[in-house]
Assembly symmetry: D2
Homo-oligomer: 337 residues x 4
């Protein structure tokens, strides 16, 4: 990475992903300094931050926004705070890296994007999977024309186990907290926006999920604006681990990527020919992608370049998730706004 100047950042929200980003930055980016972090429950993070050499640990994120030395913020707090934080950060002239989803409310998102545009700050959304070695390779292959014009895009995305019911209640539902990555993947791979979506959902993993009004299994079909078709299959629970694959079928061929494993070991014994399960979950599978997305963000900030995933990408994925949720409820295909 070529960086013309040292970047000073603040991280808002010290949950799992906030801590992950902070550690990744300290380990990997010598020209980036995490000057301050904040969290509403700061006690949990204080010792952890001090051990990493971060001395400015705040309860109030305003202290980050008020620090003139800090030129960029990472928004890792809960989704319902995202748009407000984007607006305030933009007005404080901070470049913004915001976790997905950008928000729940289209009006608020639109307003936030307007402020971002007016202030001219950079805004990148944390769709880290675009930076995965497998998926970015698929995108490259498509761009090189090696499979011709895409006709069918298939995304398989299954978690190793369902989240707690308490999380499901506030997450916006599976289509919002899980499938939203896959909606972005379809847009990323195809390079096309989505026109219409149809959701078939079921409660097959855990009936408690159904009781709180959500689904745990889904097939989502998408008509793309370029005329091609995409399909996503989701499950909250694959007993063999995190299943993350895509296939793009086109006029000149197809390309597919499979799961990553810890080793290529294959045992042949009297029971069969046995290879390893997929890497357990997103922290293992997407480890490097979390670093690469930040590298691109810092490069854009440092060199005044274009961010690779912008606010409109954040908005589009929410629009699709909303339409997919509506489709599930109404039992019919829904056009994207």
């Amino acid at each position: 990475m070529k960086m013309d100047k040292k970047i000073k950042i603040g991280v808002v929200g010290m949950g799992r992903i906030g801590k992950l980003h902070t550690e990744n930055i300290i380990r990997n980016f010598k020209n980036v300094e995490v000057k301050a972090v904040s969290d509403v429950c700061i006690e949990n993070a204080k010792e952890w931050a001090n051990n990493l050499g971060i001395n400015n640990v705040y309860e109030d994120y305003q202290k980050i926004l008020n620090d003139k030395e800090i030129d960029s913020v990472l928004i890792c707090s809960s989704t319902n705070t995202h748009t407000q934080l984007i607006i305030e950060s933009a007005r404080a002239k901070k470049n913004i890296f915001c976790e997905k989803p950008i928000g729940y409310d289209i009006e608020e998102i639109t307003k936030a994007l307007k402020v971002v545009k007016e202030t001219g700050v950079k805004l990148q959304i944390g769709f880290n999977r675009r930076f995965d070695h497998n998926f970015s390779k698929v995108r490259n292959i498509i761009e090189e024309g090696a499979v011709g014009q895409p006709h069918i895009i298939k995304v398989t995305s299954r978690d190793p186990e369902e989240p707690p019911i308490e999380y499901i209640k506030v997450s916006g539902g599976m289509l919002f907290d899980m499938t939203i990555h896959d909606f972005d993947m379809v847009r990323y791979l195809s390079g096309s926006d989505v026109e219409e979506v149809y959701t078939t959902g079921a409660v097959l993993v855990n009936e408690d999920i159904g009781k709180v009004g959500d689904i745990d299994t889904a097939i989502v079909t998408l008509k793309l604006k370029d005329g091609s078709i995409a399909v996503i299959d989701n499950s909250r629970k694959a007993v063999y681990g995190y299943d993350q694959r895509v296939e793009v079928f086109g006029s000149e061929g197809s390309v597919q990527v499979s799961n990553d494993t810890d080793s290529s070991a294959i045992i042949s014994n009297k029971n069969g020919v046995i290879s390893e399960k997929p890497k357990f979950f997103f922290l293992e599978r997407y480890k490097d992608s979390f670093i690469k997305e930040l590298e691109d963000f810092f490069n854009a900030v440092s060199n005044d370049g274009k961010v690779p995933v912008d606010g409109l990408d954040g908005l589009q994925s929410v629009l699709i998730a909303k339409a997919a949720t509506k489709s599930l409820k109404e039992g019919k295909p829904i056009k994207i706004l």
Copy 2:
């Protein structure tokens, strides 16, 4: 195969599939005699049949039905003749092996099945893919419970090249002539009937196909009566060959089968690591399945057993194809009758 008595059969329709079955019988079943064949254009088949030692070659299939020695018929004529031939054959007390689809018209099919029931003859439908070594293995694995309760069934079915436009005009459309195999596969693998179907179609391979009112690319989503979900993806043209794969994801794991190839050779050179394309088309890929479906039919006839694919299976696949076609036209999910 244990057969208690010699079976004498007649084959109606000497197109590609009629000839294939006839040759397979002569080569593989010593206790089965092809006593007669018929075709409306008998001149094409006469020499071919004589060379195989078949001396009774008729223009009129009635001669087969009138032959008291013949106890079974194979109906390999065009689809629009199937139900009438089933009725006449059943009334002539012949056991029946009928190619798929069983017909186009639900009323006619229902009537034919009624006659079959009344006469007590056996009727097997030619869904040969159920007898493929890969797909039957998947079914066995599901039945053994190795993947638990199925949640998601995925069928990929792509032809190596589109058929002539003249064929498409009369075939009933892609959902009827091609996807019907996949509808049956979903029923076979799941062991469940289908409740609702939703079709997303596109014309991406050849615009002439669109001009005659058909599609060449589709994603079809099916809700099954057991609560699980299935999805089929189709294309009329995969440049790398006949792509025939399934994946069943369940509560205890998943099982998938891939394409067959002529050899397992893998070449590593400066261009990459290169393995063989799938076997070219259905004659190559499903070669053995055409023999196995007949073996089961002859066993059922010989031992008065149950046929593995019956008239209701034939009817159900047509019902789904009709609903899928309606879904495509109306742009919404359609319940199966």
Copy 3:
């Protein structure tokens, strides 16, 4: 297969392989008639032969040689009878298909080949693995130049279980009854003769094998006359099944083939990602190759063509096996005569 005339054959030796060939011929070659079979213990084979429609079942193979109508014989009796039978068959003007190995004694083999040459009959040796879809594909790839000039040839050949000790006592030892196929494979794939051989052997599977003077595990290294090197690894017992793979590494790349399985099914569950074991043993794995080697023999007979595996191939493999056995005993590399 194009055959200009009907071939009548006799089969000498009705053990497992004799019966296999006989059944394959009856099922697959309409222009070949098995007119007679013989065995020193004919009682075992009589009913079996009659059921197949073979009426001439002899104790004395001379009756086959004396039958003027018979133009070819298959020698499937025990190895110690091969050279004598080749000589007598050749003098009786019969074309000969002889199982491997062609014999144990170089002098006798040389004499037999001399008679074959003088009489002008055809002699094919039963190295069926040359006709396996995987190995013949590798040979084709090499001939096309796709991997350049071969440098290293690797043959893995492991049986699923050791044979009875009684068999081992009379078989000539592992290098003679098992590795001989691999010696021929090295010659087949490389197109080169062998210059020198070095054997490292061990008794690791069953110590009783060591007690009768044989080994059950070996690495055999071969210097080829074209300058390249080959290595064979053998075991009498692979618990996961019959392991039959080759790899050829050359100046422009490498090619490898893996084991065949009954299906491509892969199960992913909490224990791992599990695919099928190799086909159990040679009857399953090499099923089709036994038919193809006969097809080529009958073609050569019918059209007066060249047999694909001739007497010199049979001799060479025995010469290598003898040198490999000497190398094992003397603990040093041995030149091929």
Copy 4:
């Protein structure tokens, strides 16, 4: 990594591997400080070191040994200096990480190991492949007993391109500079020492290599003290990239690992089914293993533990390489001393 105290180190030799280790330490080990580096041609390294924040850059390694604060040295200079440096470092009470091979001369190595023993410092040899995710997994699988008692160990090790002739002249030959890793791999996987070795070599890649008295292609067979057999195949040039695989076959099954690739992408098109080539060379393939071997070294130093690859491992691999070289020259198997 738990480390009880801060470690200060000096690195002797600033060639490619010296720089690699230095950068890995700075990036990955917060409790390890690279206090000084030295090189006989220090000009090349000065700016590079200063940019990394290393201020002590010496021409004379004695300055490192004289620095009382430095408790460990990494010996990355040319092989002919290794034993002398080990002796001097040990006498200066430094713990030692020494690159492979430990030396060329058995007497010198023995003397160095004696000094190491007397002084009680730690000595680890840089056989990084033991720390590769694939090979360490194979070792774990063997230790768990999943393949039973090992019978056959196969190591494939091929470089993507031959080194310059000038390097070959001074490297000790292929068996010494390249195969030595594979000798160690056989010892690592088997947990057994080697009794006897036999080398078959050839010059097939580049005849200039033959002109300077070396080979570029080899099969090396090893008898192990535990009764099992190992075989290594080497080539200086695999056009498809760095080929690094092992297979261990045992009484209860086999385990094999294949090459790593940059992604799992598989393209199917009219030419075939194409996956990626292996990672290019050792810097890419073994990237993580270089970090893990240091982690284990620093842990041993910090916690006064046992190093995972000790001086005797270094000595044994040289003994095997010497015997293999003698075998090649004399054309017969050679016992290890």
